[in-house]
């Protein structure tokens, strides 16, 4: 009558629609048992809060108290969750999550200690979101999550990170319409203050402007952070950008190992990106050549994105103003599209 698990004897499989809610409950329980604070971000809770249309999520995103981040991962590892392919590639911004998989489950848990676009200290960001937490009922259990304004900031940053994607445009348009009508002036100010407190006053600006939030904290993001955000948001899908950005900010003597790693990456990462690659050394070599060819094709565009901007190691008001104007301009198109 009953079958154990997604890989049970009768071959029954869980679908994401079943696994995602259950995993929210599972992670909540693991965190509670360890006394670790967590908040579920994105995912089905956004639809419950009226921040995006109903659609099937593909993974679970949980923001963990940064001071307990390693411990939370350890707890997950103890019950069989593992990082299948450790990421070693370059990133424009500090990478924000680790993807855990489990043989019994069809989807990943993305364990975050930060969320891109919030440039305040990750612990401060977590405390701000935690202070305004609420709960959502999922799979018959209450799970912790940011309140509507907190999740609005998260969801808007998520969409603004890839403004050229059609889904990002749709999500931003949905939130703009929904919140433009729902939030009063006090709540709009509260959202703007949240953005300032989390270091997202500039990164969220296009969305805040679109919903009529007051202009608070403009130009407070360090120039280097804003530059990274600007490069990241204008290079969706162009992976070469991250390697060029890394090289640009490295000493020349660090270039050889960086370049070598950029060329070969790890076998696991190459095979994950190209699951059809033939087995064996020759198959791996072919996959690396294909990857390199694609990277070289992207190189001119990536170079334009990375080098067209001036170095911005030190925050200057002029630099911040210039980058803010560029970022706002680019993202504004996405919001209004």
């Amino acid at each position: 009558m009953a079958t154990r698990g997604s890989n049970g004897a009768t071959g029954q499989h869980l679908c994401s629609g079943e696994a995602i809610p259950l995993l929210h409950s599972l992670v909540t329980r693991v965190a509670e048992d360890a006394g670790i604070r967590v908040l579920f971000i994105k995912g089905p809770i956004l639809a419950m809060q009226g921040l995006r249309p109903e659609r099937q999520s593909v993974d679970v995103d949980v923001l963990v108290d940064p001071s307990r981040f390693e411990e939370m991962q350890q707890r997950l590892r103890e019950i069989g969750w593992r990082i299948e392919v450790p990421g070693t590639g370059a990133h424009v911004m500090t990478f924000h999550s680790k993807a855990y998989r489990h043989d019994n489950w069809p989807c990943e848990i993305d364990v975050h200690d930060r969320f891109p676009g919030f440039f305040a200290d990750p612990q401060d960001v977590f405390e701000v979101l935690w202070a305004r937490r609420t709960t959502a009922a999922i799979a018959g259990r209450e799970v912790p999550c940011p309140d509507i304004l907190g999740n609005t900031a998260v969801a808007a940053l998520h969409a603004l990170r890839d403004p050229s994607y059609e889904r990002s445009r749709r999500d931003l348009a949905f939130m703009t319409e929904a919140l433009g009508e729902a939030l009063d002036q006090g709540q709009l100010r509260e959202l703007a203050e949240l953005a300032v407190a989390t270091g997202a006053a500039d990164t969220l600006r296009p969305f805040l402007d679109a919903i009529g939030a007051p202009k608070l904290g403009e130009g407070t993001t360090p120039a280097k952070d804003l530059e990274a955000w600007q490069i990241r948001t204008s290079s969706s899908g162009v992976k070469t950008v991250a390697y060029l950005y890394q090289l640009r900010h490295a000493r020349k003597r660090q270039w050889p190992p960086m370049l070598w790693h950029a060329l070969v990456l790890t076998e696991a990462e190459v095979r994950k990106a190209q699951p059809d690659a033939a087995p064996g050394a020759w198959g791996l070599f072919e996959a690396r050549v294909r990857r390199l060819r694609r990277g070289l094709e992207d190189l001119p565009r990536a170079a334009r994105i990375v080098w067209r901007r001036q170095p911005a190691d030190e925050p200057t008001s002029e630099g911040v103003a210039r980058q803010r104007a560029t970022t706002s301009g680019a993202n504004q198109k996405a919001v209004r599209a």
């Binding site: 009953a2 997604s6 599972l26 693991v30 103890e78």
Partner: protein, 99 residues
């Protein structure tokens, strides 16, 4: 078989999460976070629904028999075995017997 005709009262465990889609239920025992989820379909799902309220085994057997239009004697062993199985999986508890 000596337990089959007991007046045991069964209820869902309080420490589970469950989702339901199209007459299919997937339940997870949160007290054993390493344990895989359990899929319940068909009669298993029906009994799970019946356990929304705690109930006696005798009554559960009667309800299942009525649903399938058979004599309770034909289903009591299966229902009993299934309840014990759910108990082993941590999804239900036996909370005593009706007076």
């Amino acid at each position: 078989m000596s337990d089959v005709l007991t007046n045991s009262v069964w209820r869902r465990s309080g420490d589970i999460a469950a989702v339901e889609q199209d007459d299919r239920i997937v339940a997870l025992d949160l007290s054993s976070p390493a344990a895989p989820p359990v899929v319940l379909e068909g009669t298993a799902a029906m009994i799970w629904h019946l356990l929304a309220e705690e109930d006696s085994e005798v009554r559960l057997v009667g309800l299942v028999a009525r649903a399938f239009r058979v004599h309770p004697l034909h289903v009591r062993a299966d229902v009993h075995a299934f309840l014990l199985h759910l108990n082993d999986l941590g999804l239900v508890t036996r909370s005593g017997e009706l007076p």
